[in-house]
Subunit: 212 residues, 4 copies
Amino acid sequence: MSDTFVQIASSLVSLARGLHTRGWLLGTSGNLSAVVDREPLRLAITPSGADKGELTAAQILLIDEDCISINEPAVKLNNDVPGKPSDESPLHVTVVKARGAGAVIHTHSVWATILSDVHALEGGVAIEGYEMLKGLHGVSTHQHREWIPIIDNSQDMPALANTLNEVLAQYPDAHACLLRCHGLYTWGRDLQEAKRHVEILEFLLEAVGRRT
Amino acid sequence: MSDTFVQIASSLVSLARGLHTRGWLLGTSGNLSAVVDREPLRLAITPSGADKGELTAAQILLIDEDCISINEPAVKLNNDVPGKPSDESPLHVTVVKARGAGAVIHTHSVWATILSDVHALEGGVAIEGYEMLKGLHGVSTHQHREWIPIIDNSQDMPALANTLNEVLAQYPDAHACLLRCHGLYTWGRDLQEAKRHVEILEFLLEAVGRRT
Amino acid sequence: MSDTFVQIASSLVSLARGLHTRGWLLGTSGNLSAVVDREPLRLAITPSGADKGELTAAQILLIDEDCISINEPAVKLNNDVPGKPSDESPLHVTVVKARGAGAVIHTHSVWATILSDVHALEGGVAIEGYEMLKGLHGVSTHQHREWIPIIDNSQDMPALANTLNEVLAQYPDAHACLLRCHGLYTWGRDLQEAKRHVEILEFLLEAVGRRT
Amino acid sequence: MSDTFVQIASSLVSLARGLHTRGWLLGTSGNLSAVVDREPLRLAITPSGADKGELTAAQILLIDEDCISINEPAVKLNNDVPGKPSDESPLHVTVVKARGAGAVIHTHSVWATILSDVHALEGGVAIEGYEMLKGLHGVSTHQHREWIPIIDNSQDMPALANTLNEVLAQYPDAHACLLRCHGLYTWGRDLQEAKRHVEILEFLLEAVGRRT
């Protein structure tokens, strides 16, 4: 494994544990990834079914653009079953390709879950006028209107990845996407920016949710 | 004491402290258990009246299927009274036998407490359509409908254990049970799965509670 | 200083820091005390104006029944002003004498503050039917009805202590008292029991508050 | 760098991390400053765009009254871009001059954000009757009425600083100011007092917000 991968794996773990403490990755929900190489694509990603509060760097997997695992993680998850990449890996690859993102974070918070359902028929949640929006990449004023599109949830991952791809093309300025009754996808040029976007969007969804 | 018991006791303590931090085991409420042996049944369980934020492995008790303490814990609780198994031990044994569970966790969260009363007349809480449900053992789609039965609370533990046994038989697919104005019982094949179920169900109850 | 005082001071600090983390002692609000000796009365108590998240054992004061400081704490608070006992010391002494308590804890939580005002005209908050009530000393069933009397707030401490004394006599079974728009007073035979009562009552007030 | 600056930088970091944990400085929002020298004015301030949960003392900047950076911080933020003072530095300097404050803290909490919008047309939020108010400098009774003026948000920092200056003159007794849909500014004679004011005001805004 390259030094870069080891370093990224360690950052993913530290971030995942912090987000688990905040209650945004409970019950093995959610997943995080970061680009290790672009050509060919190599993505470090959290394994399927891992407790994010107990995650270790040795559990982080390296996948290619077809979501095939390249490395074999040194430490196994429970029951000695070898770790497999998150089922939602195709969504991560989709975001990385569509947005040129360097990192993708998918959280399951209570407020994101509620709002993704309450606003489903409108097709998205509009957030406007908050200073906190300025922390999103490329936004320079609180007068910005952020539209977070909502996609219907599905267990057909290739179909879901396809829908996500279309939505990302339809809303080229969107910094995030909600899956209905499921959670938030956001991303950034690197893991630090993706983390910033998670904190900003979860904050804003809580503010919007408490006012509804 | 066997190595297994020592290891399980340590895991119970670590888990109990984490759940106490989240506010789900305040005021010595709640209890946790894990199977050490099946034949004859040996269950490691938290003692009655322990502060879960200060719990130590030496306080964990080993009981048989009649809830009689096998070991004598090395460290005593306050006032040097020898620790006795949780009063709700019969409920733990009931779940272990009825479900073949390897671990049982009983939490007292604010949202579980509220919903167990608000939905008491309906006999349970239905949770449907959330991706988070997929983390429950054997559930493969968010379209799953989880029915969490609600049992009237009682201080007659044998009677309560009996009612719980009947409810578990009546709802063979249920992953949990609520005691009215009291809290949540859930379980898993091992402690890791039981922890996952607690996090998932407490998350979902909060989401449902905030929308009501 | 006696070994007992040093040990109690250390326990008060550890407990105060934990309650500050939960948000129940923000902004130097609240105070804690524990009996060191009964005859004559010696009470270890947190100093006035201390940040409970930064409290150290050297800041804990020892007072007599007239709230006069016996020891001089080794470490000074900000600006090298010698620490003085909490302004609310007379309320602590009142509880210790009226109830024979070994420890008194006064917290300022958001829910206690809100309910102490919402229910002020009724003179108290009734909490009934919750299993969590069983953790209060001497309560053996969830069918217990706990009446938490509410006292009008005042800056006249001797008068407030007098009113508290009357209310404690009027409700000999009460485990706590609310000061209107101010916070919760509870107590126990020792610090461990007082901590248990705080966690139970803050939990119940949150549950009641969220249902209102 | 003087010993004083090093000490103040370390205190700013410790405080910023704690407030980030509480969710009041998410997504690189908010900023903190403390006076190092009065004549000429030297202010230690957090850099623009820093993750407050990962802040280090080496990132803290020293600015003059024109918000020009005096030192060059030893450690760079992401991408090796040299740290620059917070864009809102003029607001900090304004508060320091208008109030003679020794420290200024600007937080972004969910409740402050909501209330700053809900009460915008009234021009401020009135908080009255809470014991917690007594923790504000110079307030000796809960009967105090605190008026927190609300200023419209703007990206024109000199204009915003000017408006803030006028509002501070108009309300000489105010301990804080809200920027609409943005967050809270408060201050104190030193960092300890500013921290106390943050905790008190965030507590009170949450209490007021939950009752609305």
